[in-house]
Amino acid sequence: MFNKRVGIEYWPVLRQLTGSDRLGRGKAARSKDTDALRARTGQADRVVESVCPYCAVGCGQKVYVKDEKVIQIEGDPNSPISRGRLCPKGSASKQLVTSPGRQTKVLYRRPHGTDWESLDLDEAMDMIADRVVDARRSGWEDTYEGKPVRRTMGIASLGGATLDNEENYLIKKLWSALGAIQIENQARI
């Protein structure tokens, strides 16, 4: 379109017809606005190396952070696994971490309750710790059919395939020390 601010000589069609870029795919199509455009990734305060959280291919990701917010996640061209590519899910992972629908507050639903209530994180942790101690005791078995088992059947846990190795390690370590055996994850499914 004709731009009054800069004069008719900047009209792309005119430049295409009169200049050397007759196909209009090069400098004839450029404007000062075009030249002033900068990739969002260029404005990042830092770029952090990461790995895609969806499937197990393990594509390399670069996480761009500005003002303590993730502003973009892109494929890492250095990765010999993914060579910079991401699939639709991996490409959407910025939304996974920044989505306004993401829950960031502890929620509590009391027995027979019809709605969520808010709860302080610290209080929730204490309540859960109390319940773990209680369920562990009430589900405790010293023996099973005369054989020593020293375990609790009162607590079970499911999940781990989407977590880190270090997290799985502490889950298995803590539950085993508490005598809980019903510890499972998606690998069984």
Partner: protein, 844 residues
């Protein structure tokens, strides 16, 4: 693969560009089929027929890679006289107890030789628990103590009638191209094309790879599917070599890691078995059962003692068996499906869900939600309010008026989780590669990492039990649970945890690898196969030397277990003398003094090919210089499995629990050892039911992730795949009056769901046993929460499990499909009951 692992699929396309031929075997036509040379539509549940016929093709045509087979597999081993095959017993192997529905594997043993399984059923005890009659064996036979020094008798000519090679030949003789046509729906010309291509592409100079996912594991014969592929690949010499293998493509970022460092009931880190309950079991008797004494499992005491030292530190001493007694004991199958049934029975008080959504993602959705509703309290840790957190107010059962929030007593805590960008840590990808992801920023609000949650929960529980004098509290009181913390929320250092997993020597220095582990308590390691990931005090998993600056093996990107090896058992890439099988396929080789090559050799570096183990040798010393399979007690790959599987030493074709057809091979219709749970809410369809005449299979779409917790809540992905649908062929659409874009109701004995109809030639009707079998395709991502919502395919499925893995059969079942939306409210249950009555299924 192009649908669910799209970026990994670029390497298939690279191979194709270099001349590789790509076959895609799948009930439906997908993006993979679109670029494959050939798509072979198959009837879901019939893969052992196809793979078995390929095995038969190789054996009867003399196409096996004889030098590889003779030297690297147990083909020459002679099996005992008591063994009877399914061919002799009409679908059963010897040792079957019909009353207990389980096998005694004693008769599967080698003649004059002992062997111990490197995986699978090991430290397990016979238990007469009240569930065993109902669900079958579930891997509960007594593993006998292992011995050493008795190499199995062998016949190098492969002529002995009881040598493994001859047993295989007889076993697979009836798996013919004609049977493939009759059972899989794949014609003889297509089969010949596949068989010829595989044979032509295997041998010294070429290798063939098989890639699979849960399309093979989610069956009542899942482990045996993979076993059949293993037999084929070993006969063709395609294991331990570049471009070969049987590659499991796993669906979650660290599902491999959560198997290696298992949040699984039956394992300890590094595939050590969890101990089972025995009368007088100490560390010694456990280790006798846990693994063999020969091969690298022979160092099992070092692996186990180092784990116990990592967990109980100074409290673990030689005098107290390194606290071995602190580990709880198993008495059977304690897998997730068992737990759900126990929840319904009121036996499980508290339940934690960490990044998992069983209300949508596990088979038998109604039972899953019933289980959640029957627990006293539930902790859900996730990024979004998934169905498993909100079942008490938005489940299909509430919509149908069967229950209400007021009736559900579960106390629910929802704790928001940190995303991968908000925490340090490693994922282990599908090729065993550990990759560190760096924390980019702090998590928002109350969101915390699971590392934070479990660590701080542990601290609070320990606080509460600190003063206890109960001996049962000692394991938690004495647990090493003191990690450096960092950041505003006192996050435990993930790097410190990784260093503990790697392990330390007696002076507190990070270990260089698992070969440095000691059995005297002087070393510690939280997972022996991961030892070396922090060698030299350097986080090896964070290495990111750019791919183009490295060799094609890229050994300096991340760290692969074990010992940074990228291909397991790669000694098999060289011939018995240690020379590459061919120039083109050179990978590791013996250079006259040591093993060298493109990868870290999966063999002792200086053990020459000429090495012969002395009498009575143990551990790796018992493995000859020509034996690549160093975890096996005999160093050989097992074509025939004398121990470790609970449903037979060889794969046999059994029909799925719910099948439209009869098994023409044996009187035994389905896997005799499968785990069954006939009960209210979990009724099965009879085989060949005319009430539920169609087969169906479930699957994923590129744009969604499993149960949807990480995809259905994202507008981008929801827009790409907004609605639950079913895929049907034009022929089935015509038969049942289904219209493209309209609605259909899919009915099973468990429930009925609705879906938009996609009439497509991607689904092909198959000719099976002279009649047409239709298959319905169902993606399983949707549920009652999220940006886009819909019915869950898993609600249709029953709980019936593979007895080796305790994994459900969700890839093959039967249903009816009818036009229109499903009934609402009480009418839904009435419809399902009417079908059950028609099919003669017991009333609930």
């Amino acid at each position: 693969m192009a649908e669910c692992h799209p970026v990994g699929f670029q390497w298939v396309m690279e191979a194709k560009a270099r001349g590789a031929k790509v076959f895609h075997v799948d009930p439906r036509f997908t993006r993979t089929s679109a670029v494959a040379h050939r798509h072979l539509p198959i009837r879901a549940g019939s893969d052992i027929v196809l793979l078995g016929a390929l095995v038969n093709h190789v054996l009867s045509g003399g196409h096996d890679f004889r030098e590889y087979v003779l030297n690297y597999t147990n083909a020459a081993s002679i099996v005992g006289e008591d063994f009877r095959d399914t061919e002799d017993l009409d679908g059963l192997f010897s040792g079957y107890d019909a009353e207990k529905r389980e096998y005694d594997p004693t008769s599967w043993a080698y003649q004059n030789g002992d062997a111990q399984a490197a995986a699978g059923a090991r430290d397990e005890a016979k238990t007469d628990d009240d569930r065993s009659h109902e669900h079958g064996p579930g891997a509960t036979f007594e593993a006998t103590p292992s011995q050493t020094g008795h190499a199995p008798r062998r016949d190098e000519t492969l002529e002995h009638p009881r040598c493994v090679y001859q047993i295989l030949k007889r076993h697979f003789a009836r798996y013919t191209p004609e049977l493939v046509e009759e059972m899989c729906g794949i014609g003889p010309e297509r089969f010949a094309e596949l068989a010829d291509a595989i044979v032509a592409n295997s041998g010294r100079d070429r290798t063939t790879a098989f890639v699979y996912s849960v399309g093979w594991t989610q069956h009542t014969v899942g482990a045996q599917y993979i076993r059949t592929a293993a037999i084929l690949q070993l006969l063709l010499g395609n294991i331990g070599r570049p471009g070969g293998g049987i590659l499991a493509l796993r669906g979650h970022a660290s599902i491999q890691g959560s198997t290696d460092i298992p949040t699984l009931f039956n394992l300890l880190p590094g595939y050590l078995p969890m101990p089972y309950a025995h009368e007088h079991e100490d560390l010694d008797t456990y280790l006798e059962r846990a693994a063999g004494d020969t091969g690298f499992w022979g160092n099992k005491r070092a692996y186990m003692v180092s784990l116990l030292k990592a967990w109980w530190g100074d409290a673990a001493t030689a005098d107290n068996d390194f606290c071995f007694d602190y580990l709880p004991r198993l008495t059977g199958d304690h897998g997730t499906y068992h737990t759900v049934l126990d929840q319904i029975a009121g036996k499980v008080k508290g339940y934690f869900l960490m990044g998992e959504n069983p209300a949508v993602g596990s088979a038998g959705g109604r039972l899953q939600r019933q289980g959640l509703a029957a627990t006293e309290w539930l902790v859900v840790r996730d990024l979004n309010l998934i169905e498993s957190a909100e079942f008490w107010r938005n489940s299909p059962e509430i919509a149908a008026g069967e229950t209400s929030p007021e009736q559900i007593a579960t106390e629910v805590f929802f704790l928001p989780a940190a995303a991968h960008t908000e925490k340090d840590g490693t994922f282990t990808n599908t090729q065993r590669l550990l990759q560190w992801h760096h924390k980019a920023l702090d998590p928002p609000g109350d969101a915390r990492s699971d590392l934070w949650f479990i660590y701080h929960l542990g601290l609070r529980v320990r606080e509460r039990l600190a003063g206890s004098t109960d001996r049962n509290d000692r394991p938690i009181q004495e647990l090493t649970w003191d990690y450096p913390v960092e950041g505003p929320h006192d996050d435990p250092s993930a790097e410190a945890v990784l260093a503990e997993i790697n392990g330390y020597d007696g002076d507190g220095r990070p270990l260089s690898g698992f070969t440095a582990l000691k059995d005297d308590g002087s070393t510690s390691s939280g997972c022996w196969i991961y030892s070396g990931c922090y060698t030299g005090g350097v986080n090896q998993t964070a290495r990111r030397r750019p791919g183009p600056e490295q060799s094609w093996v890229a050994p300096e990107w991340g760290w692969a277990w074990p010992a940074n090896r990228r291909i397991l058992y790669n000694r098999a890439s060289a011939d018995p003398e240690g020379r590459p099988w061919s120039e083109r396929k050179a990978y590791v080789w013996w250079d006259g003094e040591q093993w060298t090559g493109h990868d870290v050799p999966d063999f002792e570096k200086t053990k020459p090919p000429s090495y012969e183990p002395p009498e009575g040798a143990t551990a790796q010393d018992a493995i000859a210089g020509t034996d690549p399979f160093i975890m096996q007690t005999d160093g050989k790959a097992w074509l025939f499995v004398p121990k470790g599987l609970v449903d037979g030493p060889l794969p046999a074709h059994y029909e799925p629990q719910e099948s439209p057809v009869a098994n023409p091979l044996y009187a035994q219709q389905d896997n005799p050892a499968r785990q069954l749970y006939p009960r209210r809410g979990n009724r099965y369809h009879p085989a060949g039911s005319t009430v539920y005449p169609y087969a169906f299979t479930t699957y994923r779409l590129t744009e969604h992730h499993t149960a949807g917790g990480m995809s259905r809540f994202l507008p981008y992905l929801s827009e790409l795949q907004p609605e639950m649908f079913c895929e049907v062929s034009p022929a089935l659409a015509a038969e049942r009056g289904l219209t493209n874009g309209g609605w259909a109701t899919i009915v099973t004995a468990r429930t009925a769901i609705e879906a938009r109809v996609l009439v497509t030639e991607r689904m092909s009707p198959l000719r099976i046993q002279g009649r047409t079998v239709h298959q319905v395709g169902l993606p399983y991502h949707w549920g009652t929460s999220g940006v886009v919502r819909g019915d869950s395919a898993n609600d249709l499925l029953p709980i019936v499990l593979d007895a080796n893995t305790h994994i459900q059969e969700s890839k093959a079942a039967t249903c009816d499909i009818r036009p229109g939306r499903r009934p609402q409210g009480a009418a839904l249950g009435a419809l399902v009951r009417r079908y059950r009555r028609q099919a003669g299924i017991p009333e609930d």
